[in-house]
Symmetry: C3
Subunit: 470 residues, 3 copies
Amino acid sequence: MSPLHLDPERYFSSDPEQRRIAVELFHGIANLPIISPHGHTDPGWFSTDAPFEDAVSLLLTPDHYLLRMLYSQGIPLEALGLKPNDGAPYETDRRKIWRLFAAHYHIFRGSPSRLWLDHTFAAIFGIDRRLTPETADHYYDLIAEKLATPAFRPRALFVRFNIEVIATTEGALDPLTEHKRIRGSGWKGRVITTFRPDEVTDPDHENFAASLPRLGDLTGEDVTHWRGYLRALENRRAFFRAHGATATDHGPATAQTADLSPADCEKLFARVRDGRLQAGDAELFRAQIMMEMARMSVEDGMVMQLHPGCFRNHNAELFRRFGRNIGGDMPNVGGFLAPLKPLLDRFGNRKDFRLVLFTLDETSYARELAPLAGHYPCLTLGPAWWFFDSPEGMMRYRRMTTESAGFYNTAGFNDDTRAFFSIPARHDLARRIDCAYLAELVAGKRMEMDEAAEVAIDLAYHLPKKVYRL
Amino acid sequence: MSPLHLDPERYFSSDPEQRRIAVELFHGIANLPIISPHGHTDPGWFSTDAPFEDAVSLLLTPDHYLLRMLYSQGIPLEALGLKPNDGAPYETDRRKIWRLFAAHYHIFRGSPSRLWLDHTFAAIFGIDRRLTPETADHYYDLIAEKLATPAFRPRALFVRFNIEVIATTEGALDPLTEHKRIRGSGWKGRVITTFRPDEVTDPDHENFAASLPRLGDLTGEDVTHWRGYLRALENRRAFFRAHGATATDHGPATAQTADLSPADCEKLFARVRDGRLQAGDAELFRAQIMMEMARMSVEDGMVMQLHPGCFRNHNAELFRRFGRNIGGDMPNVGGFLAPLKPLLDRFGNRKDFRLVLFTLDETSYARELAPLAGHYPCLTLGPAWWFFDSPEGMMRYRRMTTESAGFYNTAGFNDDTRAFFSIPARHDLARRIDCAYLAELVAGKRMEMDEAAEVAIDLAYHLPKKVYRL
Amino acid sequence: MSPLHLDPERYFSSDPEQRRIAVELFHGIANLPIISPHGHTDPGWFSTDAPFEDAVSLLLTPDHYLLRMLYSQGIPLEALGLKPNDGAPYETDRRKIWRLFAAHYHIFRGSPSRLWLDHTFAAIFGIDRRLTPETADHYYDLIAEKLATPAFRPRALFVRFNIEVIATTEGALDPLTEHKRIRGSGWKGRVITTFRPDEVTDPDHENFAASLPRLGDLTGEDVTHWRGYLRALENRRAFFRAHGATATDHGPATAQTADLSPADCEKLFARVRDGRLQAGDAELFRAQIMMEMARMSVEDGMVMQLHPGCFRNHNAELFRRFGRNIGGDMPNVGGFLAPLKPLLDRFGNRKDFRLVLFTLDETSYARELAPLAGHYPCLTLGPAWWFFDSPEGMMRYRRMTTESAGFYNTAGFNDDTRAFFSIPARHDLARRIDCAYLAELVAGKRMEMDEAAEVAIDLAYHLPKKVYRL
């Protein structure tokens, strides 16, 4: 049986000098509270504080990183317990699913999923042996047993994970009931929402036509014309702010922005409203919406997050049969210079505007994003995102952005996850990679130790708080 | 005189911990047989077993890596013994050519060519001093002397190189005579062919018009219409399979695929057949051919290899005067997400289909290729290719693909060479870089040693055998 | 108070073996004279030999690297002493500006600006404490005091910096008065000019219309037609050559080249001359100009430098209020294969033509630039440029270009700066990174030490001299 243990010097360089420096830097930040300003956990967990169920529903089925890798090796999603829309059979025996997962655990070698999972198993569940077909049942039983105890309830874990604040993400029409309940419960954990309006701002979204009238109903605004529609969006932003939101979240296919005249906006909106879209209208509408969101952010102080560049639902058959978020989203080529120019021409020089930029196209780090963030007062670089939320990905991010953007135009770390139990692992990994990078600078005589120690604390704690106005 | 020797710890990190781990990992794979599933050696070598001639015709003139670098420094190809089409004089004194090469050996510093050549000189020919103008004649004479001995005949070297199987590449119309002779000779070396149909599937190929009727003659199919043409291609694939082929090989300019209706295919084929190409027809035809090749692979089980992204024959004058493969091919920008979607929409979820993807645009590794390979069951990532078949190139490949695709969606190593003597050097280098990468993971506590040892063996041996169905 | 000192082993790997090798390699090149074949210093400094004024006007206001980073953190350019065009107030108290800079010195952590500045402070001014708000006045006073001494006059520093030759850059219409004065002064420092014709060759340049008749007046050529215009350009090139120029410098937005017929050139020129530009005319004109510049280089032996890919003046408001070169230029996506083909088809195989290529899009290093430079006799790769003139940027450059282009198709280092005091720092940094890269090769048994030592000298000294025909 292979042991499982977390090496206290993990993810640092094996060079003794760098390792020593990294250990010292990490010592200064290991126990800082977690700031989680961008993520997708379920506020219902914290409002109800109900126990989690079992290893499969907790760790496997909601995690698209795991689903995609298993699927790539020929394992049908049905065998992993996902229910297809077409009535085809699917596995419901969770122990059997867990065993299947354990039998393929080797395919995750070298992936961040493996690191997060091992951290979860060892640090949260106290397991001391590796997941293999032989230990699968031990894992399954022990996890179920622990989950049934009070120490593994969501609120207890929130405290144990040392979370100072966590942001969830809700659609513009969401009543924020769970957030209200959390606040009304007297519990002191800080769980805030984030305003994600795609459903009511993207004409290509499958719910757009149905959502528009609901937006009108909810806000009491006349959303049949552009100005009323904008007022309705402003209204919802105010509602979200009242529930703790300090940020908005936007994931269009491209970074395109536009600056149309009010008259052109009105005409474009009329076509969008009536479903009479001409070629290019949907993208132009999204581009103009980005401008409006920036304008509203200037007015209401919400931080605007923009993460373009995802080709959603690339696998047509799986999207049809299983819907969104099952591993079929792919990074695409993206550009920023010309697309962002209209928005930056209007708001780029405003110090009171904050736009956090993310990318899935690493080629833009050093070429476009760091130079932009190292110039425009409004811009801050979000961390390495999604597929790049990994040791190599985060190290490339620092190496390719720091020289042009510095550290102080970056936003610290976002865990961006719906996998609650992985949050300590992800912050631990991110902090360690930042320390490893800083150790590289210190060992290479490119930074002094006292300055590196200050930067490490800023990256782990002060920058995300400041950037997200928390 | 400078000594030449191969350091047993070459290409590993100089960090003592990583080096120790890499040495141990390499020890476990150094003597594994060579699996060479994709290459361009001459089957005639193994059918005739005739001796090779001399250093120049063996090592220099067929190697476009060497020709291009020498040419870049102002050495005319004629001076290297290449015969131009225009009747201009060219050097025929091979010793003189070798001396010219030796006088410029320093320009290869830092290139993989230098590493492969030094390995060839030291490990195969037993030379112990560096190639310089002073040692040029010693090299030339010693190599000629060795090549005349039985131990340096192709079959003897095949055994000495520890090759378990090697695939050559032949055009769709090739009679595979040499392969037949090898099989008929009683010699036990496994030399198989690969089906490369560009000549009969690319309307822009200079031989296309002449090749089409020959395809009809060879197969007895009526290639004047689309369905007969497809049957003829199926027929040739069957012929290649009967001579050992397990794979097909496709090198279009882009990764574009298409899914036209049968009627549209018939019309497109008629225009192609008659040379009445409209704008975009040639690319559309190649795109549809990729779909047909995929469909045939599903039916006949051949592994489909796709390596788009080369701008062939960029140097117009050299192409005109010296033809193909003299160093004028250049890597181009390439994209995969949208171009591959038609093909993946039809066959992407088939476990019985295997598509091995290569790229010359490294920016697609982490952004598109690893995410695609880490999701679609049919996809496997081919190794770092051509210009990237090098220490830095292979290391970047692992660092940029492993976190999203893992190791088990990759195909191990392809030497992809017509330089037979470099095959041991290339596999040695590739195995060492994989060990160096694994050592980085182990030393960074991102992988345990026992798992790394298993992965090293899989990459060197089991994965290429499995992926290529050998 | 934090000490400031330059570690003698700075920028080398912390791996003891690599560090030892790098130290040894650097020892062999540390004292080589500086060859500075491409830069933007003011020839007037050397003709008048007048003292520099103070820390702010010397080190801060002319340095767009510093302006942009400070601006990104919300500091208005007016507060840094820049005078806006609109009559708005701006800071004139230089001590106050210096204090503001010192208060934000931490934002440069991890940037090359920090390394260059600390080198300047320590090695040139002999300061031994870090720049902080507390030491700001000490810095300001000490720098002012030193600048007033004879040892800090431009010519004395030229000697102290060990500059063998430095090239400035002047517009095509420049009378080169300062260069004449330098030559006439009897001073032996070699300061040469470089021919930069954008003003008279780019129809989009704001001065183009006014410059064209001046070009005619200066040269006595009839610039109302294409042939006369070309003769005028040839005339100015000859004038620059007579003042020491060995190179021309071109910074178009893209690498596009064209090969139009004389008749089409004449028509295009007529439209450009008359301001009757049609869509695409400006780019086509620039593309044809690149061809003409190449042709003239073949004829007159001047080295042609091409650095496309910059999106100039991205920040519209700052450009309007403060003009060029204040930090609003951004790297853009660039391609080389197809754009350069017309030019390479005509002159690519000429050994007597030298084209030095730079890029701001690092993705083209390994994919296009190194393969092109490793093939075409006319091509040489310029060093890592602008945003990539940094430890990480230069290391990526070597790692991504050496394997395909080797060292001997690269041009050594260009400091490309208007910051005279940073020149020793920049060459020191570049030489150290080259040694660090070579040490990586030697420690990884990819190069022998004697060859690395030779390459180090070639990169630091012989290659720039040879490439720029100095």
